[in-house]
Symmetry: D2
Subunit: 363 residues, 4 copies
């Protein structure tokens, strides 16, 4: 098995980078969600290459062709399938690499697992291109979340050691989220954004790449969503996020910084505010015991540097069993965090929608 996940909202992703098409089936959507095609295309465009600092020059229209599940601009309640045609592949770029695993790609592990039967041109099913159907599914989840008053947005938290300002975890502004969604290079602090872009450009000039972190917030979530233990929000979100190529770390709230905190600093005390329970801090990232607390849900995702770099690298020739050196040609992002942010946001929205679609747990 591989590319299916979800309990109440189930997605099943298919396709290879250089095959006929890629796409996704989304099963479990309720009937009646208004679908705004332009809004979906906005997310597709955000993910698409060629617009942003550090993005590959490979440009594909990435128009999802909806096969089913939408009728008169609303979901029908039965499975929705979207197909995205592949085009513009430079397959010859990969011919020289056959049997020579590109370092830190899935080439080696895929060769071992599938015995060379995968179509590994462009990474095949392991390609970052497979995030296009994920982003589509996320955009559909966004349409559902909108009907529930829930909004999700992200900014680049760190690239190459340069840190953006952080979300205020108690008070994430919907307007800010909307602005970030429309930005090609979404940051809270524009000056830091320019520094990041410079670092990316410098890495590109050096035939190198950079890693980074994005920060995602979900606001408008009621308290009480999610279930204990393995169906908690963190588990659901992380399981999808780690399915995004290049993700090597996921943290909620203060995350790994918790290791340097005392309980008296980390605990989120409460008070009554306007007649309702409210939090004095949100180090927990809006999740306690796997269940939403009503405070903004905050999650950060770390992407490794793009594995495809233009420098010569050492690898092995699986056929001759000899060491060899390779140079990866083709068009590649210098920093996948920029576009990966859109995929990570999609992953979070799919997981949150899945949890919200759970039936009631109270008589």
């Amino acid at each position: 098995m591989s590319s299916s996940i979800g309990k109440n909202l189930k997605i099943s992703i298919f396709g290879e980078s250089h095959g006929r098409s890629i796409g996704v089936v989304v099963d479990g959507l309720p009937a009646g969600i208004p679908i705004d095609r332009e809004d979906i295309l906005l997310d597709m465009a955000r993910r698409r290459a060629g617009r942003k600092p550090g993005s590959t020059k490979r440009v594909e229209a990435d128009i999802p062709e909806i096969q089913s599940g939408i009728y008169e601009d609303h979901t029908t309640g039965t499975p929705l399938c979207a197909v995205i045609k592949n085009g513009d592949p430079h397959s010859q770029d990969y011919a020289a690499l056959a049997g020579k695993p590109r370092p830190s790609h899935a080439d080696y592990t895929s060769l071992v697992k599938y015995g060379g039967l995968q179509d590994l041109r462009g990474g095949g099913h392991f390609s970052g291109r497979l995030t296009a159907p994920l982003v589509f599914a996320g955009a559909v989840a966004r349409a559902y979340l909108k009907t529930q008053g829930v909004v999700c947005g992200s900014h680049i938290a760190c690239i190459g050691g340069i840190w953006d300002a952080a979300f205020d975890p108690l008070n994430v502004d919907e307007k800010t989220l909307a602005r970030l969604r429309k930005s090609d290079f979404p940051v809270l602090d524009a000056a830091r954004g320019r520094e990041m872009a410079e670092r990316i450009e410098k890495a590109r000039m050096n035939k190198d790449s950079l890693g980074g972190i994005d920060e995602c917030a979900v606001v408008g979530l009621p308290a009480g969503i999610g279930d204990p233990m393995f169906d908690g929000m963190e588990s659901k979100i992380a399981a999808i996020l780690f399915g995004v190529p290049g993700v090597k770390g996921v943290e909620f709230g203060r995350g790994f910084a918790m290791a340097n905190l005392r309980g008296s600093e980390a605990n989120d005390a409460m008070e009554m505010r306007d007649g309702k329970p409210a939090f004095l801090s949100n180090n927990s990232g809006g999740i306690l015991g796997g269940i939403t607390s009503g405070a903004p849900l905050i999650v950060r995702t770390c992407f490794k540097p793009t594995a495809s770099i233009a420098q010569e690298q050492s690898t092995v020739d699986m056929n001759t069993k000899e060491d060899c050196r390779i140079v990866i040609k083709g068009r590649h992002d210098s920093c996948i965090t920029v576009r990966g942010l859109v995929a990570a946001e999609a992953a979070v929205m799919i997981a949150v929608a899945d949890a919200m679609l759970e039936g009631s747990k109270r008589i």
Copy 2:
């Protein structure tokens, strides 16, 4: 749903902290795994309170009573259930807290979700005590992994800002893992361990608690285990890890440090060694494209500081709708990382066993 997970090896955990018993059903084990009761009790003892710096004084025997699935010291292939009796509860410690959510516990979210119908004494089903059946299931997974030549071990990587030495990701020694497993306070660098213990003791004296990070390694794994995207090793492992109470971050290989690396630093180049492909570095933590590479699998887990601290804290009274102050009595770890390490290790082993039990993906 809540406390069930797994595809090939399915676990279903039940119980509340102050109820009759807690336990787990493990379904999907192959027949014929030799079960060494002493080895299982070793893991149960590692998790148990009362032995370690920073652990609660609540002491329970935690002897898993095996109901089914083992016959003549071998697994039968049908579901294994173990029940662990509860005892020694100080339920009166919780009476004063009814309706007053303890900060950063699941009390508030649970009250909202279940409408006060949970038995929240001691945290109920959300208690850290529920890691006992998880550790049992992990010990059974360990017995399976042993038949496949796979070994798993952990050390405390960081507590309160003090960092232990790190595993050498290319060369984790089975002997070291065995030694760590027998230690009450497993660290690679004993001096750092003593510093950590001092910090914990100091926090305890201040009625406070500390967060931390543990690092877990799995060695002996063949390449080719795991599946692309959402059934990748990272997704499987993280989904279980985030089900462990108190976990707020999970990272693989270099993890969040990837944000500060260039591709030329982060990529794991390869060479032929003794006629076999081998890695020159292991920043990927033994996983590429969700699939094991044959290098050691390295995962780090961040635990928040124990939420139960002895200081007075601000919260709300859900009944009177007023602010209030509470003091949490009872026995609590000053640093859950120490025992959480055993639960995290169990989570990793369960996920790895689940992946190894997948049927072949090649004709």
Copy 3:
């Protein structure tokens, strides 16, 4: 995997006939279901041996000991585990049969699959005794269904060629269902019941056994429950029913008799009645397109004759690889349909509850 099923209401059954205990974890129950212990014991008693024509003389108290998930007589919303101790095993009855598969039992297939590692005394995990935890889970599902105004009941439809009257599929009476539930030998036509009992007794005298069919009805179900295709009511119900030992056929509404009908006879026409759509017939058994129609749900289950008969039978000795003859000793029902009816009813209730606990499919 083996003994776990369900999406919204998940059950995981464990145990062997002659092991320490058998039981079940029920995960996904909403909080707040009132649990009437006497009502659960009534179902356990209905299933228990020793009371009915054709039942084995093996008598076990079969008191489910609830470990978790119930607090102050209501479900908590977290997993419920019940353990039923085994007692009164006559293991020596099975010693002579080691390696000699009893005809039409799972002995042979289990030996092939698990290599002799199962504890096959009494059938091990394949024993009809494993229906006890299923019946317990069904009784809990019944408690949930009661809160939704849904009632389920069954009668013996046929034994040894003698047919009881059938339910009127448009008008199943709750009082009748209640009466059937309290009967040791539930039939609609008492005279036919006496004939059946005579046949069973005659079979027993001849060291033989009989097959049969039970008919189960669910009333009070709203229209709109269930999902298309593989999550339809028939699929959900059949998947659990065929997990009950001895079941070889499942049909809904007119079922196999549909093969002899014309569309003009089989179709369920509609009319307005008291301002609401109503059916003129219910050949569909209350399910159209996998979704409940609001008419009573009708399902029939066929049980094979008890495989354990007291006559000498031909089998093979798996150790000596020779033909042999065996006589099965021990206590066995002459007709498992009588008690199987209770298990089948439980299976239906679990599946119906699972479908009703699905989140809404409409915005």
Copy 4:
């Protein structure tokens, strides 16, 4: 959720009768299965309308366009998606029926469930047309089964009360199965087949339809496939079969006839034959305790008469809340059993492949 099923081989079906396309994602296939496009088209042709007695005149090419998962005529091991374009829809045939549920269709239940948001033209997602992607997935499963020496075939067992000869359950001939697969109207006894065809024609002349039963056999299966209880072969097969529109009953081996048998007649005794254990009868249909016995697996599926008949029928107008009479126009099979057989065979093959792809249950 609705149209996804499977554990090791997961299928996710999408599409509506009159939408853009229908199709399926098949996830979990091992790499390296040779895919013979002609052999797949043979199954598609068998299912397609217009060739057979009793089939609708709606003719669509039904050419599955493979989007992914196949490379150089072999499966890659990653998800396979096939899309089948819709064409030739007579949507106007349905306009007159809006809000007037056709008797024994899913129109009423779908309206209640989804609030009229489904595209119900032609039955929408509930249409028998959705069996085309199921048959495609079945054909792919057949290609896998072929690599394991497993063959599956079916004949029409009964239509309108006329019974074909039955398979000899101990000795189903692969040649016969191959012949049946190539027949437009597959029966064992040609004379009975002609009688059935006459009955169908007569029903059609009377603007009526007929129900029927098909019988499916799987040969070459090793013993030991399948798992106890809810992952038994019967549960797996029935869950998919009941997802096929129009199926109202499923039975294995002697099935419902077991109700008239004594244990001494029903039990399958064993003997050694050519040094191996063998069965003297196969009333169990090749399954004991949910696990294959090595004897042919035999399953029968009952289809109701086509619900769409040309006669005037009574129904309700959901908008005006009044009784009304409707006449269903369009092109419809007089007996869906003929083509349903192909879908049922696909369902069986998918379930069997799923079970065979389970990892080993023995160390």
